[in-house]
């Protein structure tokens, strides 16, 4: 390491009390920022869980749909129309709704019902127990073993429920990539059984799931669907639409944003003030270095190194801490919706860098202004 950086490093870390306060400030801020944004990311992913779990390339829906859970029924002919669009490899219907279950204990529980196309079972989940063909058996439903599974009282194959006064029998237990946000267990069945068991308005197709022949066909499919007054979105676009709804049309986005900004301000306040105090306390040392012959550039590099090193250390500790906390929370609380991804790590890194930059800016200003003559004067 260049000697001047090692000098900066030793001046920083040998002042253990200040260094600890600096690192704790940034660790705390990063911890809170990542926690907030991870929570939001988790909520957004879970809000799109059906889109992720079904895995269709394109979704056709009513333009008024905001979230996947609040589908608006579309007429049957739309399915035939979509199938007739050039560039469509195949199109199948999906039923998405909710129904009240009467559990074996006699308690009631609302569940999400997903009805898969009878012919293809497109979007079927991966089974942990049972065989997929048993979904065609009389009264058959597949339960999803996700964090809400316990609300079905841990059913096994053969467990019976009442669903809108119809008998329902569990024929398989499945797992899915992403659990649901809404705290309801999920049951898969066939499209037509779903229509029979769940009361519906006149239009029954919740979504048309489309597989285009190629990526180049997507714009044409979208255009053809739009001409009929409906909306076709790719899976990513649908997830983005759902995310936008939660970000901008509910209070969740703004609340998370406020909390994240507050975490940033707390981190900035603690680290900024402590770093500034550190610089002030070392001002005569910087002045002595300046008198000895250190250039302004060297002094600025020392301060930037000190604030950068502190920020990186705090960032690493903050991320490590939140990873451990989230891992423990997920072990204890299956419903805990937090996901750390590159985006929230980048946001926290950026904010830690801003804290570092602002903290060092004021320090640099002071150090550049100090006159070595002041050292002579004492």
């Amino acid at each position: 390491m260049n000697g001047i950086f090692l000098l900066a490093f030793k001046l920083l870390v040998n002042d253990r009390a200040k260094f600890s306060a600096l690192v704790i400030g940034i660790t705390f801020a990063v911890f809170l920022m990542v926690q907030m944004t991870a929570l939001f990311a988790g909520i957004l992913i879970r809000a799109s869980s059906t889109v992720i779990n079904i895995g269709a390339s394109m979704w056709v829906m009513d333009p008024s749909v905001q979230t996947v859970a609040n589908s608006i029924g579309m007429p049957d002919y739309l399915l035939d129309y979509v199938r007739s669009i050039p560039g469509v490899k195949f199109a199948v219907p999906l039923y998405s709704g909710a129904a009240l279950l009467k559990l074996p204990s006699g308690l009631y529980q609302t569940a999400t019902i997903l009805g898969l196309d009878d012919t293809t079972l497109f979007g079927r989940p991966q089974l942990l127990q049972g065989r997929i063909e048993d979904i065609y058996a009389e009264n058959s439903f597949i339960a999803v073993d996700d964090p809400e599974f316990s609300k079905l009282e841990y059913p096994k194959i053969g467990t019976r429920f009442e669903l809108n006064d119809n008998r329902a029998i569990i024929s398989g237990i499945a797992k899915v990539a992403s659990p649901s946000l809404f705290g309801m267990p999920t049951l898969y069945t066939t499209y037509y059984r779903a229509l029979q068991y769940v009361p519906n308005p006149r239009f029954t197709v919740s979504y048309v799931l489309v597989e285009p022949k190629s990526q180049a066909d997507i714009p044409g499919i979208k255009d053809a669907v739009r001409r009929l007054g409906y909306l076709a979105l790719t899976a990513d676009e649908f997830i983005a639409k759902i995310s936008a709804f939660y970000k901008f049309q509910t209070g969740i986005g703004i609340n998370i944003l406020v909390m994240t900004v507050m975490s940033f301000i707390v981190g900035l306040s603690i680290s900024g003030q402590t770093f500034y105090t550190f610089i002030i306390e070392n001002m005569e040392k910087f002045g002595a270095l300046k008198a000895i012959g250190a250039t302004n550039r060297q002094l600025v590099m020392m301060i930037l190194f000190q604030s950068g090193f502190t920020s990186l250390t705090g960032y690493g500790l903050g991320v490590g801490l939140i990873v451990v906390i989230i891992a423990i929370a997920k072990l204890r609380l299956p419903d805990y919706a937090s996901t750390i991804n590159y985006f929230n790590l980048s946001i926290a890194f950026l904010m830690a860098a801003v804290i570092s930059a602002i903290s060092s800016y004021f320090g640099v200003r002071r150090v550049l202004r100090i006159e070595p003559f002041d050292i002579f004067r004492g």
Partner: protein, 232 residues
């Protein structure tokens, strides 16, 4: 006759502006040669430290010139002047200004580190200078574990570690008892001063006058001539 180390001509320094302006140096001429250790003495507020700062390139005068080892230092830009100080001038500050969180050897190595030398070789080289000032055994201790006289010697080791031709000592005995102060200055004269080095000392401690090459009196921002050096 030895070469001129420092030559200042017509140096004026004023602090503040307008009615509040205070003139600390009034057209001062000063000269020091290699191999000598001149003292600048005078009462507090006479301008000694201001003159020392101007001579050593850390306080820009309002008028006049300062030539150090043939270089008109106040014609240099800020970075060149910093580099000049680093390579040509060593400082012993009144309050030492040692880094309490570094070891004695690391403190002595600071000019070498600032020069861009790597840490290990700087500390190794600085240890030689600690040996010169008699503190080799204390190399691993922080300055707070040393006495005042020892801290002053660390400051001297730091000042000479970059092998400067000019050594500036500002009130080197101000924080020391009489005997320690005399020992330090005597040590500097015997071991640090040589024909290639000039040591300028600002002091008002008459107990160390006997070690001076010349004693230049200063009052009200003017040099008032020289006084005779007392014999021990």
């Amino acid at each position: 006759m030895p070469k001129v180390a420092i030559k200042a001509v017509g140096v004026v320094k004023t602090f503040g502006e307008g009615a509040a302006a205070i003139t600390a140096l009034r057209s001062v001429d000063f000269e020091a040669r290699f191999g000598e250790m001149p003292y600048i003495v005078g009462p507090s507020g006479s301008g000694k430290t201001t003159l020392l700062s101007v001579l050593s390139g850390i306080l820009r005068p309002n008028a006049g010139s300062v030539v150090v080892d043939g270089v008109d230092i106040w014609k240099l830009d800020v970075d060149s002047l910093a580099s000049f100080r680093l390579h040509k001038i060593g400082f012993v500050f009144q309050d030492y200004h040692l880094f309490p969180r570094l070891t004695t050897a690391e403190n002595a190595a600071i000019p070498l580190i600032v020069k861009g030398q790597d840490w290990e070789s700087s500390v190794r080289e600085a240890s030689k200078y600690l040996d010169i000032v008699g503190l080799k055994e204390r190399a691993g201790l922080p300055p707070v574990k040393l006495s005042g006289g020892e801290q002053q010697r660390v400051a001297i080791a730091r000042a000479i570690s970059s092998r400067p031709e000019i050594l500036i000592m500002d009130e080197p005995t101000a924080s020391l008892d009489g005997e320690t102060g005399r020992n330090i200055v005597s040590f500097v004269k015997r071991n640090i001063l040589n024909e290639n080095r000039c040591i300028v000392v600002v002091t008002h401690d008459n107990r160390i006058y006997e070690y001076a090459s010349r004693i230049i009196m200063m009052e009200d921002g003017r040099l008032k001539g020289e006084m005779s050096v007392p014999h021990s």
